[in-house]
């Protein structure tokens, strides 16, 4: 084991003597998280998100506006359509909900009575649209059971009193807590920069092969298993320290919560193990460090985009969400989100864990098979 630790320690030490690696592994993800996290906080810190209502004056619409306003997660404000469009365009409101002049007529034609005016599909908008969909469905059910307009109005009044919608909204909002959103953003950036950092470190094997230290190690009494374990351990430690630093910084800056650590730490270990495997594979399928850098950049950026590292996966079309299942980052994000949000939906975490284990086996299988010991 002494040899393993010596190899791991040497590479670990080499990393901390390289300023560019420190910038890539620590400064960049912290900076990105602070910039984008700060933007997220700024949008709604203290104040609730503003949602505009565009509705003509009639008795049914008045009841529907009341129902919308009963959701206290948002600040609701009625506006003329042109003013609403301008405010949404200037991002002074997350969206505007336009209610048809006659809801009953819309339902009669089997169309939705709501249309949304939106500039940017943020996480808050996603929660809002879910709420509006739910309300639309409730209104339709009420419409079906009402023989006339007066009964319908009475039913809508009752719905408002029972605050049935507030419950579903609170479930939706659970995912959109600000500190969690910033935390997830930080985790996303950490995953990406961890992939860059560890891939860069792993590609050093290619340089060592040219420099001769790789051959020198292999002709020493250290076994291949000791050499490989030493290298992989150093990459794992780099990832672990990177994640730990990010967690501490985000906690200090935004009070981000990381959920239950008994879940978070083992899952984070698995994520780092998967990233180390990925980096090993990338370093062994190319011949030079330059090739490795170019290919890693391409693969990492594209799979991070697909996997929901930069934005919530829910805002992309359904077929993209299906494609995302083929990249490990989407499973990393899914698992982390379940843990960080505190929902701890065990089947989701377990499923993400199993998929990441399969990815790891594939990555290490290819990497260890392709690595050149001669």
């Amino acid at each position: 084991m002494r040899r393993v630790f010596s190899i791991a320690f040497l590479h670990f030490k080499t990393l901390f003597k390289t300023p560019s690696a420190i910038v890539l592994m620590f400064v960049m993800p912290i900076m990105f998280s602070l910039i984008f996290g700060g933007m997220g906080i700024g949008e709604s810190s203290g104040n609730k998100a503003v949602v505009l209502i565009v509705a003509s004056e009639n008795e049914v619409n008045e009841k529907v506006v009341n129902l919308l306003s009963s959701n206290t997660q948002y600040t609701w404000r009625e506006e003329e359509e042109s003013a609403a469009r301008e405010l949404v365009k200037n991002q002074e409101a997350i969206a505007a909900v336009k209610i048809d002049d006659s809801i009953e007529e819309s339902f009669g034609k089997s169309t939705t009575p709501f249309s949304m005016i939106v500039q940017r599909k943020t996480q808050e908008y996603m929660a809002l649209s879910n709420f509006i969909e739910g309300l639309g469905s409730t209104l339709y059910q009420a419409y079906r059971f009402s023989p006339d307009t007066q009964t319908y109005i009475l039913l809508l009044e009752n719905l408002g009193e029972r605050e049935a919608i507030e419950v579903s909204q609170s479930v939706i909002q659970k995912q959109a807590s600000k500190s969690e959103a910033v935390g997830m953003m930080a985790i996303g950036f950490t995953i990406m920069f961890m992939m860059f950092g560890i891939s860069g470190a792993a590609s050093a094997i290619l340089e060592e092969r040219v420099g001769g230290t790789w051959q020198r190690l292999l002709t020493s009494p250290a076994t291949k298993a000791q050499v490989m374990t030493g290298y992989l351990l150093s990459y794992f430690l780099m990832g672990a320290i990177q994640l730990a630093v990010l967690m501490i910084v985000m906690k200090g800056m935004y009070g981000s919560s990381w959920g239950r650590l008994t879940y978070f730490i083992p899952f984070a270990v698995l994520v780092i193990v998967t990233i180390v495997g990925f980096s090993l594979m990338m370093a062994t399928i190319v011949k030079t460090r330059q090739q490795s850098s170019a290919l890693s950049a391409l693969v990492i950026v594209s799979t991070c985009m697909l996997g929901g590292v930069y934005w919530p996966i829910e805002i992309v079309p359904e077929f993209m969400q299906q494609i995302a299942k083929a990249v490990p980052q989407s499973w990393m994000i899914t698992g982390f989100r379940e843990i960080v949000s505190g929902s701890l939906h065990l089947p989701s975490i377990l499923y993400a864990t199993i998929v990441l284990l399969i990815f790891s086996i594939v990555f290490y299988g290819i990497g260890l098979k392709k690595i050149k010991y001669q």
Binding site: R2, R3, S6, L10, K13, T14, K17, T18, G211, G212, T213, Q215, R216, L217, L218, T219, S220, P221, A222, T223, Q374
Partner: protein, 313 residues
């Protein structure tokens, strides 16, 4: 039994046969030179002896241990100085030595003591804490050697350890190797600089095209050319060789002449005696001589005589 026994060593890379049926034995305490031009198969032979890759056929035993069967045990007896500067450039000389010492199983006070001793041997005590990347080529080469001798190996293998360095560092390295050998360390030294091999080694094997073309002590090898010197003539216009050979006063056989491009090499026991007659004869044969040099018998002459090529070709 020798410290190194190599029997019928062959290495094929697909269709290319890099080493062909090489056999030799090195006794404990010997210094053995492996001489040959670039591409002769020296490095491939050394890499197989080091256990970097197995031979296609043949056997290697280091201290009686089979290198193919028990590579890690056998490698523990070896110290390897690779052709490349196989060091971590961003680390200091001391850090490099400590790391490589650990790879050979040294630790604690013993490791520190050996690192200090080796820094003394390679003459780098004063800059031990400086990064290797700031060193000159010669200093790097010295650390490269230091990393291989930390564990006092039974057999030190040096693959072209003086490539691309200044004369001062070269002298230091050659003296260090000579001293290590005189203290009992067995050494294999590969080079295409025959002067280095002549200075350091008692026994020499000459390789070309993956094969041993001859081996023996320096005296034995010189005898293969009859202890004859070389007369090297350069000219702008080639002479008619037949007319030179025909001169009875020179008594030169056709096999003693080597004509290559604008250079004529003649092997002769008494070059001083025949020189003026030779110049006249070559000039009469139509050549315009630009320079004449007499070279004493050496390993270069042996290689040239056996292969018709220079070691540095």
């Amino acid at each position: 039994m020798g410290i190194l026994e190599v029997r019928n060593l062959t290495k094929r890379f697909k269709a290319f046969e890099a080493v062909k049926e090489v056999s030799f034995t090195i006794e404990k305490g010997e210094s053995y030179g492996l001489l040959g031009p670039n591409g002769a198969g020296k490095t491939t032979t050394i890499q197989m002896i080091s256990g970097l890759f197995p031979p296609t056929s043949g056997t290697i035993e280091v201290g009686g241990i089979d290198m193919v069967g028990k590579p890690k045990r056998a490698q523990g007896l070896l110290g390897i100085v690779p052709q490349e500067i196989a060091l971590y450039q961003s680390m200091s000389a001391r850090e490099n030595l400590i790391f490589w010492g650990k790879m050979y199983g040294l630790n604690g006070n013993h490791l520190q003591k050996r690192v200090n001793e080796v820094l003394g041997i390679i003459g780098l005590e004063d800059c031990a804490r400086e990064k290797v990347e700031t060193f000159s080529g010669g200093m790097k080469r010295r650390v490269n050697i230091g990393a291989a001798i930390l564990h006092n190996p039974d057999l030190l293998i040096m693959d072209e350890p003086t490539v691309g360095i200044d004369p001062q560092s070269r002298t230091h390295i050659l003296e260090t190797v000579k001293r290590l050998n005189s203290e009992g360390m067995t050494i294999i030294y590969t080079s295409h600089y025959m002067e280095e091999v002549e200075y350091l080694c008692e026994k020499i094997g000459i390789m070309d095209h993956g094969q041993f073309i001859t081996s023996g002590t320096i005296t034995e090898l010189r005898e293969t050319i009859g202890d004859r010197s070389r007369i090297v003539m350069k000219f702008t216009q080639k002479p008619e060789l037949e007319r030179v050979i025909e001169n009875p006063a020179l008594a030169i056989r056709k096999e003693d002449l080597l004509l290559k491009d604008s250079e004529l090499t003649i092997f002769h026991k008494d070059p001083q005696v025949v020189l003026s007659e030779l110049i006249q004869s070559v000039t009469a044969a139509g050549a315009e001589i630009t320079s004449v040099e007499i070279v004493e018998p050496n390993l270069e002459s042996v290689f040239l005589h056996l292969t018709g090529r220079s070691l540095r070709d």
